[in-house]
Symmetry: D2
Subunit: 137 residues, 4 copies
């Protein structure tokens, strides 16, 4: 299974008064992780939008195992799931801290959607190619 | 079952370029809803912290059914679940738009936690009273 | 001078590990304050956009005098400034805590802008009416 | 004059329905830029806090010249100003888009502050060394 890795450093404004990264701030990093994964195939989510397809989120499931603390360097390992459920697509994200402890798991399900017709669509050719090449079914 | 209602208006900075409230911004409103529910019992989450207990989030499950659009007045109906699983506690939130359509469901599970001992604890007397009075088991 | 008042309660996710509302979170409240001020005249920023005008921010000046703390009820007093500099328009916001202490001042300058022509424009009739009625020059 | 450079990519959740990075989101990037600048001297803001000093923001001045768009790679050039006004310290940030156009300028003034005494303090030895070495007065 193809796994993509990206990293970020927790910022002060993302941490709450417990000193933990606020639970709502993970979503921006799920987004960053899936965007960088697609970019790794020389395509971007921005390209997809220009090509007439958007991907609204339909479901999120998050488990908070340990806190992410201010200034920690967090690594996200991302895999794609549910390729057999297109036009729904799920990204699974595992977050690790600097001690390589698994601190968080998030799964985001999106749908390929045509804003003109306001209907769900199958991914375009370029995206299908990426999904076929890069990932085991 | 005791249900608490609160409302908010979607702000410009919360909406993305699809015109939808960004999927990560719901968490702040889950927080607002549960804080207001507790405040309805003349206690606050801030009081709980002063009384030596914090409530980190351990799990979130979100379903995005329809978008929340800029400037819409959104109503959140909140109920408490899983009172038999203390020190874990779950808040269930249903979001409705101005046409009374259900647009979003979120369930947030938190744990009562003592930051001094770094261990989970049962809720204090005041909070237990609220949970017993206000909610069916 | 016409002053508009609105209030909000500081949320957990908006506070940093100093226990202060993060300095970047004031901008969403400036936005809320100016949106509510316009709404007070039975018009909305959403209407203005439907009428073909947007208002991007061109300048912000903020002074942080005292911290806003978690769960505090903060009142914002908003006035309009620089009506003689249209199509630029400035909103001045004074933030007060529950002890009526002035804790923050922000001034946001926006420009009336036509996204079709990509040029600045004078406010439309409805907005001009509001500005003339509601405010001293 | 010592200039530090850092870069970031605009995320979907940071862009509003005009397609522009929301004006309130720049503050997190000012923070990132000043944190990375300090890190370049083998010290961190996190270290400073452990050493008993915090740096609350007292003033922000921002000019929005052109929008930052979704997925653009933005470069921030940061310099330090007002070294003669310690314990106040200012960071000046110029934001450039991929076409090397200056799109935004921000200046953030912070104060060295001792949370125990609740009073302003001069920077500690390590920080003073950095300020003396790295920057022209």
């Amino acid at each position: 299974m193809n796994t993509h890795e990206t990293a970020f450093r927790v910022r002060y404004g993302e941490v709450d008064q417990m000193g933990f990264m606020y639970y709502g701030n993970y979503c921006l990093y799920y987004e960053m992780a899936r965007a960088e994964m697609i970019r790794g195939f020389d395509y971007t989510y921005a390209d997809l939008e220009k090509d007439g397809i958007v991907m609204p989120v339909v479901k999120v499931q998050s488990k908070y195992l340990r806190p992410a603390l201010y200034d920690q360097l967090i690594t996200i390992k991302t895999t794609i799931k549910n390729l057999d459920r297109l036009p729904f697509l799920s990204f699974h994200h595992d977050f690790y801290n600097e001690d390589k402890e698994l601190i968080h798991r998030g799964e985001v399900t999106l749908i390929f959607f045509d804003p003109k017709t306001q209907k769900k669509v199958m991914p375009n050719e370029r995206m299908t190619e990426i999904l076929n090449t890069g990932f085991d079914k």
